[in-house]
């Protein structure tokens, strides 16, 4: 049986999540993720033809709120939590690419 996840895939996922993993961590997460994927594979082996797909574990739908305004947060208080701010806005490091 082929490995359910390769170390290369773990590296890729970590880089997408902006996580810097050490070699040991990479190995550890590869093992842990493989165990989870193996479990999913076991479940996939079951015959589920009789069941409709579930989008959410709760048997609930259409949970709405009405279109009514609520007070927003105080800007100064919010910006005081940020590492840096300027002209009422959050300062973030120079962005290399355009928005995806």
């Amino acid at each position: 049986m082929p490995e359910s996840i390769s170390r290369k895939e773990v590296k890729h996922v970590a880089s997408l999540a902006k996580l810097a993993l050490s070699d040991e961590e990479e190995l550890m997460y590869t093992d842990q993720l493989a165990a989870i994927l193996d479990h999913a594979r076991d479940i996939m082996a079951l015959d589920t033809a009789k069941f409709a797909p579930t989008a959410h574990p709760l048997e609930l739908n259409n949970v709405f709120r009405s279109d009514v305004e609520k007070a927003s947060l105080d800007r100064d208080e919010v910006l005081s939590q940020a590492p840096a701010s300027q002209d009422g806005r959050f300062v973030v490091p120079r962005i290399l690419g355009e928005a995806p």
Binding site: A17, K18, N61, N62, R65, K70, S72, R94, G97
Partner: protein, 489 residues
């Protein structure tokens, strides 16, 4: 290469066909955001409409705005879509315009799917693949470098007022074949969104944002070429120019033996070119997965039909209503005027004026030309005042030139036509005065009058002109013509 020359584009592309599909993001006209109670308004002070939900603070949970769902369903119904059960997904990406590091969107099951839109002028049916709900992102401004562009920026500033504003993204099939069709599609879509009350449709404020997928292929070919996605199309004009430019760029590449690379390109309005976007990771891996914090949307048939009954008259029906005021105008200049008037939302003005007794043709023409040219002041014009003006013109109390001038002043000031006409000294010529002027013209041109009297109709213009000149433009051409003809008889 292309400088505003859509017509030469057609020649350039001979032997080639362009294939265009559009993605239109439309901001919904709700009071609050999609998942929280922060205000949905344009032009507020930065970061004054933010809360733990739209800032993605730990522990906050989204709850969907019912009115946003209703407006999304209105869009789906207006675009002839199947409205059905749908779920939300997280689209994961790392960029500071979204503090959660994901955008909540609809991926595999959209609320609206498989619809279509009919283009009024080219009479073409464009398929709509889907129209799904998602949240808008925050606004980033690049500081340092030149002109706020990314290149050379020292750092970026983020305003999250826009983050979480409800959007519907309307995705067309690749059914459009020219820049003109693309413009017509967006213009018709905009009218539908405005008429259904879902959006204010203001491209200049970013309420309506368009991305274009463009590819080219040899005429007659059935396969699709490699496409490029163009962003930053902020007006119908930019859209048309960018598509024309991009199609030419791709044809030139292929004809010179190169290949088109699939990429996202940015339209530069000043230089009139598209350029490849600089990006760290070109191939994004969004790792979509179902949003665990939101339950499925299952609109009941009753709710959907109730929403359907609340949609106002859509553009196609508005055009029919106007067309019914005339006889046999499915195309031609009157139909063009009808499309213009409905597209600008001026049809109520015309219909109201006609109901008040105004002449349909004149009302339509004044709306499609003079009012359309002054849309910024359109709110100053009431249906009643417009109708009165048209009636004054029909009755010969104002000449065509005077009526246009009066209408212009009415749009600027909001005054009634009688008031404006009086202040400009545009009083209808007394019949006795007009007859006296005609006498005067006859006495100075007796020979011409003799010829006119013996049936030379081509001299009508000469006499009308003379009378107009003496009256200093106050006489009405039609009234003068009638008076001349009754004198002759």
């Amino acid at each position: 290469m292309v400088e505003d020359s859509l017509s030469s584009n057609a020649e350039f592309l001979s032997g080639w066909e362009m294939v265009v599909g559009l993605e239109v993001h439309c901001e919904l006209k709700t009071r609050t955001k999609l998942f929280c109670g922060c205000m949905n308004a344009f032009g507020q002070e930065p970061n004054t409409s933010i809360c733990p939900v739209c800032l993605g603070l730990p522990g906050s949970l989204p709850v969907i705005n019912e009115h946003a769902v209703e407006l999304a369903i209105r869009i789906g119904l207006a675009l002839n879509c199947r409205v059905d059960e749908s779920i939300f997904h997280r689209k994961n990406y790392f960029y500071p315009d979204m503090p959660k590091d994901y955008q909540i969107s609809q991926y595999e099951k959209a609320i609206n799917e498989n619809g279509y839109l009919e283009l009024p002028l080219s009479k073409k049916r464009v398929r709509i693949e889907r129209a799904h709900i998602e949240e808008d992102t925050g606004k980033t401004t690049h500081v340092g470098g030149d002109g706020g562009r990314i290149h050379g920026a020292v750092h970026s500033l983020v305003d999250y007022n826009r983050a979480g504003i409800p959007l519907v993204e309307i995705v067309s099939a690749p059914d459009l074949r020219s820049a003109e069709e693309a413009r017509e599609y967006v213009s018709e879509l905009r009218s539908i969104l405005v008429a259904s009350g879902a959006s204010d449709g203001k491209m200049e404020e970013g309420s309506l944002r368009v991305d274009a997928n463009v590819s080219v292929r040899r005429s007659g070919s059935r396969e699709f070429g490699t496409r490029c996605e163009i962003k930053n199309l902020n007006s119908l004009r930019s859209l048309g120019r960018a598509i024309a430019y991009e199609a030419e760029r791709q044809v030139e590449l292929i004809e010179s033996g190169q290949v088109v690379v699939q990429q996202t390109r940015h339209w530069n309005e000043d230089q009139g070119v598209t350029t490849a976007m600089r990006s760290k990771e070109e191939a994004y891996d969004y790792r979509y997965f179902p949003e665990p914090d939101l339950v499925p949307l299952c609109p009941s048939k009753e709710w959907v039909s109730e929403i359907g009954s609340r949609i106002g008259l859509l553009p196609a029906d508005r055009r029919k209503r106007l067309t019914s005021l005339f006889e046999g105008v499915e195309s031609g200049s009157t139909f063009d005027q009808i499309v213009t008037v409905v597209g600008l939302g001026l049809d109520e003005l015309v219909v109201g004026a006609v109901e008040g007794g105004a002449d349909p043709r004149l009302a339509l023409a004044r709306a499609a030309n003079e009012v359309a040219a002054n849309m910024v002041n359109q709110a100053n014009l009431s249906v009643e005042a417009f109708g009165e003006l048209i009636k004054m013109e029909s009755a010969g109390q104002l000449s065509a030139t005077q009526a246009k001038t009066v209408l212009g002043k009415m749009l600027e000031s909001g005054y009634r036509p009688q008031e404006v006409a009086a202040s400009l000294g545009f009083e209808a010529l007394d019949t006795a005065v007009l007859e006296a002027l005609i006498d005067q013209v006859i006495s100075t041109s007796p020979k011409e009058w003799e010829r006119f009297s013996s049936g030379e109709d081509q001299l009508t213009g000469f006499f009308v002109g003379q009378v107009m000149k003496l009256s200093k433009g106050r006489a009405d051409g039609k009234v003068v013509t009638a008076a001349l003809h009754s004198r002759r008889a």
